[in-house]
């Protein structure tokens, strides 16, 4: 590669720009169209500019309760995020030490990541159905009659739904931990140990501050992947719907721009979370640069 930009650079740069337009262009189109006037339709041209369709979404159109789905998705996303961060960091630390079964856990995570979502979703649905069946029909034989009285289902947002989302977010969390520790200087831990730090102190005051920006990244993956998750939730969420499921349902019935307004709101939440996370990561990295090393600054 020479010092001057070659011709291929400009060709590839053009391809890259085209790809970025391809990625963002359609999304941008629905953001614009969600501000259609009250008489406007699903396509261009714009028929006036208004917030009419956003108002429609918040009022609800009688069929689906978007506000409730919104809150459910938000709560589930937060729960998935917290669990993903905690379990991934813990498992990442375990992989650093090494343990029997490490390879099994690793391959299970990879398998969970690439398993076609419908199969995972179907499996969870079957598991819970069979469990419900046992509780309803056979609880007395097992001496659990008192517990199973009036049992309907164990399926729900924070049981089967949460589990379904975790099978999708945990592998990402684990892979990010792998990427972090591949670049991690183990001598820092040794130094902390030599200075008499307990394992917890080593983690809390040495390891965690260094990996924190990437841990925020895991949280970002945890929330956004759950917030938008659809295929795995489809069979495993129980009687209530998350926001993406409502949206998918609307694609076949709605012929008005309120679906774009809902899309814009959903994306706004995604972008808010993304930029918040990126901002926190920036902040943490800047902090690390300021306090990270006093090498070459003389004795203080």
């Amino acid at each position: 590669m020479g010092e001057r930009r070659s011709k291929s650079f400009y060709i590839l740069a053009a391809v890259f720009i085209a790809y970025v337009l391809f990625l963002y262009g359609p999304m941008f189109a629905i953001f614009v169209l969600s501000f259609q006037g009250p008489e406007g339709g699903l396509t261009f041209p714009m028929n006036g500019v208004s917030l009419h369709w956003f108002r429609k979404v918040f009022e609800g159109n009688g069929v689906v309760n978007i506000g409730a789905a919104f809150k459910r998705s938000l709560a589930l996303g937060a729960a998935v995020m917290i669990i993903t961060v905690v379990l991934s960091v813990a498992a990442g630390m375990a992989f650093r030490k090494g343990f029997k079964g490490a390879a099994i856990l690793f391959y299970t995570a990879i398998a969970s990541l690439i398993m076609p979502s419908i199969i995972t979703s179907l499996g969870i649905a079957l598991e819970f159905r069979l469990f419900d069946d046992v509780m309803i029909n056979h609880a007395n034989d097992l001496g659990l009659g008192w517990f199973a009285e009036g049992w309907t289902t164990a399926m729900g947002l924070f049981t089967s739904g949460l589990g379904a989302h975790l099978t999708w977010t945990l592998p990402f969390g684990l892979l990010i931990m792998f990427a972090i520790f591949n670049r991690f200087d183990g001598r820092l831990e040794e130094a902390a140990r030599d200075l008499g730090a307990t394992p917890w102190q080593t983690f809390r005051f040495v390891v965690l501050p260094i990996i924190l920006p990437s841990v925020v990244g895991i949280g970002l993956f945890g929330f956004t992947l759950s917030w938008d998750e659809l295929a795995r939730s489809s069979q495993a969420i129980g009687s209530v719907n998350t926001l993406p499921l409502e949206l998918q349902g609307l694609t076949t019935t709605v012929t008005k721009p309120d679906i774009y307004a809902l899309g814009t709101i959903t994306s706004a939440v995604s972008f808010l979370v993304i930029f918040l996370a990126l901002f926190i990561i920036q902040l943490l990295q800047a902090r690390q640069r300021r306090f990270g090393s006093d090498a070459g600054k003389g004795m203080i």
Partner: protein, 293 residues
Amino acid sequence: MIEDRKSLIAWLQAGPMMLVFVAFFLLPLVFVVIVSAWDYNEYEMLPALSFRGYSDTFEGCIAQLPELCTILKTYAKTVKLCFLTWVITLVVGFTIAYFLAFHVRSKTWQIVLSLLCTIPFWTSNVIRMIAWVPLLGRNGLVNQGLIDLGLIKVPVEWLLFSEFSVVLAFVHLFTFFMVVPIFNSMIRIDPKLVEAAYDAGATGFQTLVNIIIPLAKPGIVIGSIFVITIVMGDFVTIGVMGGQQIASAGKIIETRLNALQFPAAAANAVILLGITIVIISALTRLVDIRKEL
């Protein structure tokens, strides 16, 4: 003693994640396999050994030979869509990764441009599908543009709710899964190798074919596994972008589930799983995933 303690702590740290996978991934898979061999009637599954789920799936397949029966046609179509998507995402993903890895020189720009490619991945897939409607629909921008240019007189119908729009959406949604692993392999290629090839008189194309592609192979394989498994099992994208009119391996399962024919759905899932495992094991022959992280 200390070693014991250490491994006990490691177990406690990894245990919760393993438990989640056992409860929500491994056990469910076992249930899929078991239930696939159960009997069923119109409204419930019956726990008795039966291969009705499988035989119903392939009903009439032998009688209709040499014509393909519905299930085989559906699988052929799924494989076709999968292959098209794979080729396009591979070419596009490779090009983008190549640009990012070899032509963007400053680290900061590399991060900014990578983020630009990643941000859509963190937003909703359904919305990114719906987003094509105002562009490709009957009165969409593309049709209007073509009419205004005088290239066509009546709107083109195959732009939306067709195999075209399904593949387009796949490429739109999943090229990211190619870019990341290929980029990851490429940035680990020692620049000296490329320089050496250049100094030895290799053309750009020769360097690409003889140096970069072989060294980026692990990334290509991992990206391919992602794209192929996602597309083979997909039912959401095919549903929304195909206007619920195109059948696929994933959609069969969904249809059976909606009819509450759980054993039949499970049987189809087992078939899909088998095909997926064959594809993945063929691909992993080419590369050791664990070494690549």
